[in-house]
Amino acid sequence: MKTEWTLKILWGSLLLAGLAFPLVASAMEMEDCLGCHSEIDVVGEALLVDAVKFEHTVHAELGCATCHSSVTDEHPDDGAAVSRADCLDCHQEVGDQYMQTAHAENATCGDCHDPHQAHGLDAVSASDMNEQCSQCHENAAVVEQHSEWLPQASLHIAKLPCITCHTSSEEYKIVLHISQKQEDRALSGYEISKYEDLKVYSGAKEIKGLIDINKDNFISLAELRTFNLNPAYKALHLDGTLFPSEASHDLTTLDNRYDCSFCHASGPGSMQTSFLALPTPDGSFARIDVEEGAVLDALYGTPNFYMTGSTRSASLNIIGFIIICCGFIMPIGHGTLRFLTRKNRKH
C-alpha cells in the first residue's frame, strides 16, 4: 500500500512537471506513436508494441514520451536514438530490493518484464509468470532439481508460480482459474483458458456470466456448484493455486517452503478466502471474490483443487471419526459382557 502511494505521488508529480515544463521535445501523442509502432509493416517485429495490451496497463497512463523523453517530432527521420527510462527512476523500492540480490547479476528488470505489457500480481496467471522464468530456467531442469526434495515436483511446478516459493512473502492468496483440456495432448493436457477459449462458451455474452450467473461480481458456493455440475462445461474445470500476497523481489526462499508447511500445514483457517481470475480481452486477468470457504467445500466447491493438510473438509473429518469409533463398539461392548460372564468359561 505504501509503495503504491509513493508511486502515485511520484507519477503525479511527473505528470505535473510534464505539463509545466515540457520535458519532451515532441508533440506526438501516444496514438501517433502507436500509429506506427503497432503496425508490423511500418516498424518491423523488433520495434512492435502491442497496442491492445499496452493500453490496458498502468504504464499507458504515463504516455510513451514519459519513458522515451528524447523522441523528437522528426522521429524517426532524424535517425537519433530514442532514450529509454530506467525502471529504477520510478520503482525505487522494488529496485533497491532486487538490486541487492545475487539474482540481479543474472537478470535485469527487462528480462522478466516487458515495460509495454507490465502487470501487477493480480492481473497475471501462474503460467504467465513462470514463462518469465523459463526463458532462462528451463522447465525440465527445474522439475529435476526440485524433485530431489519435492514429491510430485512436476505437479508443483506446473501449478504454482515460482515466486510463491521464491519470495519473502509471509502469506498467500488462493487463486482459481478456469482450465480446459487441450485436444492435442493425451495426458495432463490442461491449460488455463484464454479469453477467446471462454468466448466460445459464452457466445455474445460476457464470459463472467459462465460462472457468475447473477452478475453481481461475487461468486457464491451455489454458483460454483452450478458451474462444476453443468454438463455443457465438461471440458472446463476449476484449477486452484497459491499466489504470494505480495510480489517481493528479494527471491529469498524461506524454510517453510522447503518443509512444505507454508502450504500444506497452514490449516483450513487460512484457506477461507479465494479469488477467481478470469481472462480479459487484453491477455491479462481480473479477479472476482469467491464466497468464504469455497475451497473447503467437501465436493462441489472446487472438485479439482485439493492440498493435503489444508483443504480437508470438516464434514468428512466427522464421518471418518464416527467410522473409527464404530470400530471400538465390538471390543468395548463385547469385552464388557465377556468380563461379566467370565465364570461361564472356566472349565
Binding site: Y190, Y258, D259, N304, Y306
Partner: protein, 228 residues
C-alpha cells in the same frame, strides 16, 4: 476332555505378510493422521518426512498385498476356498457364528468353527475379510497410487470426479480399515486363551481339539470330506 493336537495353520509367507501389513498399516495410520492434521499431529517431525514415510509404507503395503494375492491365487490356490463364503456359510454359517460370538460365547460354549489349513476362517471372518481384502485394500491402494501421481493422471482423476473426491475416498476407506483394527485385535483374543491366536500368527501352529467336541460344522465338514 479333548485331546490336544497341533496343526500348522499359518504358512510362513502368510505370517510374514501379516506382520508387514500390520506394521505398514500402523505406520500409514500415524503418518496419514499427520498429513491430514499437521497443525495438531507432529509425531514424525516435518510434514515432508510424514509424506515420504506415508508414500514408502503405502508402496510396501500395496506390494505386499499383491504378493499375498499372488500367493493365494496361484501358489497355494486356496484363495476362493478360504475367502469366498460358500452357500452353506451364508445360509446357516453366518447366523451360527454370530450366535456364538454374541450369545453362546458368554455361556461358555465352544466355537462352532474349528480352523484347518483348508478352512481357516469362520463364515463371519470370510465375509468381513472379503470386504476388507478384496474391496477396501485394493481401493485404498489404488486411490493412493493416484494421489502420488496427480500430474500424470490428472485427466483420469478429473474423469472419476476430481482430486477432492479421490482424496475423500482415500480418507474414508482408510478410516474403515482403521476401524477394523480394534475389532480384529479384539477378536484375536477370543481363543481358548487371549494369546492363543496371536501366538499362532507368530509361530504358525495352533492347538486344536479333536473331534468329539462334535460341532455341527465339523460334522458337515467331515461328511463332505468323506464324500470327496
Amino acid at each position: 476332555m479333548a485331546e490336544k493336537k497341533k496343526i500348522y495353520l499359518q504358512p510362513t509367507p502368510v505370517r510374514i505378510w501379516h506382520w508387514i501389513n500390520a506394521f505398514g498399516i500402523i505406520t500409514l495410520t500415524v503418518s496419514g493422521a499427520q498429513i491430514r492434521f499437521p497443525e495438531y499431529i507432529t509425531f514424525l517431525g516435518s510434514y515432508k518426512s510424514a509424506i515420504y514415510l506415508h508414500n514408502t509404507a503405502g508402496f510396501v503395503v500395496a506390494i505386499s498385498f499383491s504378493l499375498w494375492f499372488f500367493y493365494y491365487m496361484f501358489v497355494s490356490r486356496t484363495m476362493a476356498n478360504l475367502y469366498v463364503p460358500k452357500a452353506a456359510d451364508l445360509k446357516t454359517g453366518l447366523v451360527r457364528q454370530a450366535k456364538f460370538y454374541f450369545l453362546t460365547y458368554f455361556l461358555g460354549w465352544e466355537n462352532p468353527h474349528h480352523p484347518t489349513p483348508e478352512n481357516k476362517f469362520n463364515p463371519m471372518q470370510k465375509s468381513v475379510y472379503l470386504g476388507v481384502m478384496f474391496v477396501m485394500m485394493p481401493l485404498v491402494s489404488l486411490s493412493g497410487i493416484f494421489l502420488t501421481n496427480v500430474d500424470p493422471l490428472r485427466e483420469l482423476i478429473v474423469m472419476v470426479g476430481g482430486l477432492k473426491l479421490l482424496a475423500g475416498l482415500h480418507f474414508l476407506l482408510a478410516c474403515c480399515l482403521i476401524a477394523f483394527i480394534p475389532t480384529h485385535v479384539y477378536l484375536a483374543t477370543l481363543g481358548h486363551t487371549p494369546m492363543e491366536h496371536i501366538k499362532t500368527m507368530w509361530s504358525g501352529w495352533e492347538d486344536e481339539e479333536t473331534e468329539e467336541a462334535g460341532t455341527q460344522e465339523n460334522k458337515d465338514e467331515l461328511a463332505s470330506r468323506r464324500a470327496a
